[in-house]
């Protein structure tokens, strides 16, 4: 049964990530950095896909959750002294950052997800900006100049290990009787409700789960770049992630992963044109809406296959 195989794929993914990490010292540092960027983008896009794609709630605050996890774990690392050398330290601080981010997600989500339609987009956009402004004005986390000298703890193994967990968790959820409610809410809230689905609860669950993984991605990002600036988490960063989800085809995990890879690599290849990145994004989306409205990587499956 494909359902049971899922956990095996997860273990395989983690094993490959750890093995690759073991040899990573032999890779070109620049390429290694880009590959880690890709891994982080995969976590962000896959987790946002649960909210925007599968559950159909348009959130524009993913960078905000990333910032919460990133600043939290960076601060902890800067004040933990020798403890950071312990093997368990990094996953523990990442998960703690994720949980904090999930808690913030709960606070934002509970009131705003009662509303239908575009309100969530507005609320989450505002939330992201609030996080950024707060970070910019809080001395304890470096204010406008940001946090410097964060220890380099992110490597291939942790990044892709967590990416594998994210993909596993989200596809497990949506391919279960429990999690099919996300898709039901996306398709028709009224019908979902009349068939026993608690729609508000379902939306909050998706939102909090997404926030959790965004927090982890933020922690990985902080310990990868070793420098955090509040301006790095502005709404454009959220838009970047939203574009990955749209380009990949809302609610299609494989497509979203492919789009995350593509959109992370593309700016690297287009370094000279980096000023025009947002224009390219806009044109990509317009072209996409015209040519492939179901997403660039949408395969014409009769149904969602068990992944």
């Amino acid at each position: 049964m494909p359902l049971i195989g899922a956990k095996r794929w997860l273990l395989l993914g983690i094993a490959i990530a750890v093995a690759a990490s073991y040899f990573s010292s032999q890779f070109n540092r620049y390429y290694l950095g880009v590959v880690i960027d890709v891994g982080i983008a995969i976590i962000l896009a896959t987790s946002l896909n649960l909210i925007n794609g599968h559950t159909g709630q348009f959130s524009l605050g993913h960078a905000g959750f990333m910032a919460v996890g990133g600043f939290f774990s960076a601060c902890v690392s800067l004040h933990s002294g020798g403890m950071i050398d312990a093997f368990w330290y990094f996953p523990a601080v990442l998960i703690a950052g994720g949980l904090l981010s999930a808690g913030v997600g709960l606070l934002v989500g509970v009131p705003s997800l009662r509303l239908r339609g575009d309100y969530l987009a507005i609320v989450t956009l505002g939330f992201g900006e609030i996080i950024r402004v707060v970070a910019q004005n809080t001395e304890a986390i470096g204010a406008a100049s940001g946090l410097k000298g964060i220890p380099k703890l992110t490597n291939l193994g942790w990044t892709f290990g967590f990416a594998a967990i994210t993909i596993y968790a989200i596809s497990s959820l949506v391919n279960s009787t429990y999690g099919r409610a996300f898709i039901a809410v996306h398709d028709d809230e009224i019908a979902a409700e009349s068939n026993g689905v608690d729609t508000t609860r379902t939306k909050v669950t998706a939102f909090v789960t997404g926030a959790f993984f965004a927090g982890i991605a933020g922690g990985l990002y902080a310990h990868h770049k070793q420098f955090l600036s509040p301006t790095g988490f502005d709404w454009l960063k959220s838009i970047d992630i939203v574009v990955m989800v749209i380009l990949g085809g809302m609610g299609r995990t494989v497509g979203v992963i492919a789009a995350a890879i593509l959109l992370t690599l593309m700016p690297e290849f287009l370094r000279e044109f980096s000023e025009y990145r947002m224009i390219i994004y806009a044109m990509l989306i317009i072209l996409l809406m015209l040519l492939r409205p179901a997403g660039l990587f949408a395969i014409n499956l009769k149904r969602r296959k068990q992944s």
């Binding site: 279960s176 409610a181 898709i183 009224i190 979902a192 026993g196 689905v197 608690d198 009769k302």
Partner: protein, 257 residues
């Protein structure tokens, strides 16, 4: 007399200045097949939305199996045993036929967030059970061959049927059907009538049917209530209703009487 399955006690709902349903009293017993008819805008669908908890009554009380349902959300009421279909079909369009049923069967699956992540033995068992029950339902209603098709790709009549099957997957005691014959041709209507009778007998549930098609209503309902401008103007057996002067007046105008 024991407690009726569903009891509406002088239920009134106002939207601003408009009274959509006024002091409506209805009683439906276990296993009864009741029809609710009335001209366009009479408040039939509003009555449905009141029973299923979509709207809260301005005044009056609704009791399901003796329990007051005021303030209970639709999803809770579905758990108590009230299921419905919609006037304009509302299937989950990105889910397969089987998955549409499985969403409704979720009420009886019992597995939660973390067990869906962990996928242990208990979860696998519950998942297999849910799938088996869903397939059984599809089998009974001859939809099993479409199990992996997108629900919205089915022909119209089958979509209607699937919506009823989905409602059955919540294991209701009361099934509300909102214009199930809308847009159907005569032979589909005959099938539908057979289907409704079959469902009622097999699952021992009460059915409340809103329908414009008089042939369907008169053909299967045991009792009929007639609404006009939110007020119940008549109630009785199909025979009584057909000759009831107020009903004829409501449908055909005063001069027809």
């Amino acid at each position: 007399m024991s407690v009726p399955l569903l009891e509406l006690d002088k239920v009134t709902i106002q939207f601003g200045g408009l009274t959509a349903v006024s002091e409506l009293s209805l009683v439906i017993g276990d296993g009864e097949l009741m029809g609710l008819i009335g001209p366009n805008g009479a408040g039939k669908t509003t009555a449905f939305n009141l029973i299923t908890g979509v709207y809260q009554p301005t005044a009056g009380a609704i009791r399901f199996a003796g329990k007051d349902t005021a303030g209970t959300k639709p999803n809770r009421l579905a758990g108590y045993g009230i299921a419905r279909t919609f006037q304009n079909i509302r299937l989950f369009r990105s889910l397969s036929v089987l998955d549409n049923i499985r969403v409704a069967a979720r009420l009886h699956n019992g597995e939660g967030y973390f067990s869906a992540l962990w996928r242990g033995k208990g979860w696998q068992h519950a998942e297999a059970e849910t799938e088996k029950n869903a397939l059984e339902l599809l089998e009974i209603f001859k939809l099993a061959q479409f199990r992996d098709e997108l629900a919205v790709s089915l022909p119209y009549g089958d979509q209607r049927r699937l919506e009823i099957v989905r409602a059955l997957a919540t294991r209701p005691r009361l099934l509300l059907l909102d214009e199930p014959a809308a847009g159907m041709n005569p032979s589909e209507k005959d099938d539908l009538m057979r289907l409704i009778r079959f469902v009622k007998e097999r699952y021992q549930l009460a059915v409340l049917l809103v329908e414009h098609d008089m042939k369907v209503v008169m053909g299967i309902c045991e009792r009929i209530a007639v609404l006009e401008y939110g007020v119940k103007i008549a109630e009785g057996s199909p025979k009584d209703i057909q000759v009831h002067p107020k009903v004829i007046e409501a449908y055909l105008g005063a001069s027809a009487v």
